[in-house]
């Protein structure tokens, strides 16, 4: 693995909810709250979390579509928010995105060939070679080049996603941000798209930031995994360590929510019921652990103190005072939580 291609440092994206122009007091939505991540060239970083936890906002901010409240995003050591328009334009060459909804991310009035050609045209690719290049790209993602003149609505969801991928790789970017690229697709198609992404990664040495709410998908494709809860990264680890030895109780909850294909195994295992609903206004809670209201092992201490994001083992970080050890959910809480913080 090379050095860090992308570094996200203490990134915060807050949205203020304006309530009438006479009320000065505003509610803040902390969509992304002090997120720190790094991504090495050639690897795939999986980001998981339930809906509304800020995954997509994180992706959009990395793409420069959203302005951060504070913090930086470094791409190859360059802060992307300090760039002027021209530099940003050049940077966009290297970061491309695959969107969640394959239908709405393609212009319904444009031929698919032109859609794939759009990034090439935007960067002054010679007009003559475009058709040939697009045909190659279409072939690469498994769409027949004869369909160049078709409109997007003539394709299925999986095919549309392939077209979206072809568009993303057209400029040979270094990083591709995949914002839930498979969650809108059938399970069988999901596997095909994942395999396609993996093949392309091998072929072009791509780096993926792979956002998903589906842990089994992430397990399949990611080298490292980060779990986000309410805008905060609560666990960050290598794939193996993450799935074998998760520390954060929230991760345990997510893992236990994956249905097992074997009904007997499914029956036999102990599911951790998810306590309470997703807290609506917890985004603005400033005290205590974000996960407190739903945590099965929460202690009084957690209500008052914010857990630091610390290394629990060398390559495995989590933000919890009572990290779950030996895969037992209840875990022995240390008598003095501060010892585990250290």
């Amino acid at each position: 693995m090379g050095k860090d291609l992308l570094q996200v440092k203490d990134l915060k994206v807050y949205f203020s909810k304006k309530s009438g122009f006479l009320k000065k007091k505003q509610d803040e939505i902390r969509a992304v709250d002090k997120v720190t991540l790094s991504l090495k060239a050639g690897e795939t970083l999986g980001i998981v979390g339930e809906s509304g936890c800020g995954k997509s906002t994180l992706a959009r901010t990395i793409m420069g579509l959203e302005k951060p409240t504070s913090g930086t995003v470094l791409f190859e050591g360059q802060d992307i928010f300090s760039l002027n328009r021209k530099q940003m334009h050049q940077l966009r060459r290297d970061i491309q995105m695959v969107f969640q909804d394959p239908f709405s991310s393609l212009n319904p009035r444009m031929k698919v060939g032109d859609i794939i050609a759009a990034p090439l045209k935007a960067y002054g690719y010679p007009n003559k070679g475009i058709r040939k290049k697009v045909s190659e790209l279409m072939d690469l993602v498994g769409i027949k080049p004869e369909y160049y003149d078709r409109l997007p609505h003539e394709f299925s969801g999986g095919q549309c996603q392939r077209i979206g991928i072809a568009r993303a790789i057209a400029l040979k970017p270094k990083l591709i941000v995949c914002d839930e690229p498979v969650s809108a697709l059938d399970v069988s198609i999901q596997a095909q798209i994942i395999n396609l992404l993996k093949d392309l990664q091998k072929e072009f040495h791509l780096t993926y930031l792979f956002i998903s709410h589906d842990l089994s998908v992430v397990k399949n494709i990611a080298n490292r995994v980060a779990v986000i809860y309410l805008g905060k990264v609560v666990e960050f680890a290598e794939n193996e360590s993450f799935f074998n030895q998760p520390f954060h109780p929230y991760t345990h909850m997510l893992l236990s929510a994956i249905p097992l294909p074997d009904p007997r195994a499914e029956k036999a295992r102990n599911r951790i019921a998810i306590k309470n609903d997703f807290p609506v206004n917890a985004g603005s809670a400033s005290r205590g652990c974000v996960f407190y209201s739903r945590c099965p092992i929460a202690q009084d201490y957690c209500r008052e103190h914010v857990p630091e994001f610390v290394n629990i083992t060398a390559d495995h970080r989590a933000a919890c005072f009572y990290p779950v050890k030996n895969n037992s959910v209840v875990g022995e809480a240390p008598s003095d939580p501060r010892t585990s913080v250290k």
Partner: protein, 279 residues
């Protein structure tokens, strides 16, 4: 619709001149010689109706075209660029505060009533609505992900505006455009009826109606035929608008060409090709 357009172009063949005064033929009823009868000066109503169609269509088409182009441009820009949106929309609001017809009336009264001035006045009266409709359509389309996708691929604002957003707001443009066409014809008739339109020597449906109102009890055909002409024209323009919108919709295009069977076949082919690649 097509009949009307044809009659406009072939006004050359009219059996009677629309302005020829035949005093001995005044206020005659329907006859083979004068299909729609004659008016108080003995002019042929059929000939006048057809000739008036030419004027009405010219005004309607010009107003619709200019108002659509202006409205679309203003709507696109203010819908897409947040910064100018507020300013532009307040200006438009100001213009819309006047009833369209009243605004046109005032403008015509101020600058005088010839064809060009009427076109200018009606354009100003109708383009704010156009801009409003287009703006709201742009705001809606702007939210859809493909616009964002275009941004991430480095496509410039101009390209996004004209190749991504404009094609997707074509249907409201068409509908509003034909609607404006119809409204402009009506408004021109109303202006002429009020005596503020084009000089009475040029026949328009509006001033024909105005002249006819004095004779409505003794010669009802004088107002029936220009009235009917207005109604059918406006109606057919509205239907035309609907038809054009359907024709521009990419989803209905396939069905119209009867390619249903073809698409099923190609779907099967693509499934095969996908299966072949990724396993």
């Amino acid at each position: 619709m097509i009949i009307l357009v044809a009659s406009v172009t072939s006004s050359v063949w009219l059996p009677h001149s629309p302005t020829l005064i035949e005093p001995d033929q005044r206020l005659q009823g329907l006859s083979l010689q004068h299909w729609f009868g004659t008016d108080n000066f003995g002019r042929d109503v059929f000939a006048r109706t057809i000739a008036a169609a030419k004027v009405s269509f010219f005004i309607g088409a010009s107003v619709a075209l200019i108002a659509t182009v202006m409205g679309t441009l203003v709507g696109l820009l203010s819908g897409y660029f947040k910064k100018i949106d507020f300013l532009v929309m307040r200006l438009i609001d100001g213009m819309m505060a006047f009833p369209a017809l009243l605004l046109a009336l005032a403008l015509v009264a101020a600058i005088g009533g010839n064809i060009t001035n009427i076109i200018i006045a009606l354009t100003f009266a109708f383009f704010p609505q156009m801009a409003r409709v287009i703006r709201s359509a742009v705001l809606k389309v702007k939210q859809i992900q493909f616009v964002e996708a275009a941004k991430t691929t480095g496509t410039g604002s101009g390209t996004i505006l004209f190749f991504y957003i404009l094609p997707n707001v074509v249907s409201p443009i068409i509908v509003q455009g034909t609607f404006t066409f119809a409204k402009a014809i009506l408004a021109e008739a109303a202006l002429s009826f009020l005596g503020l339109g084009i000089s009475p020597t040029i026949p328009t449906w509006g001033n024909m109606l105005q002249e006819a109102q004095n004779y409505i009890t003794i010669a009802p055909w004088l107002c029936i035929f220009p009235g009917l002409a207005i109604v059918t024209t406006v109606l057919s323009l509205n239907i035309l608008g609907d038809g054009l919108r359907d024709a521009f919709d990419p989803h209905s295009r396939m069905k119209r060409s009867g390619a249903q069977r073809l698409s099923n076949k190609t779907k099967r082919e693509t499934i095969n090709s996908i299966g072949g690649r990724t396993v």
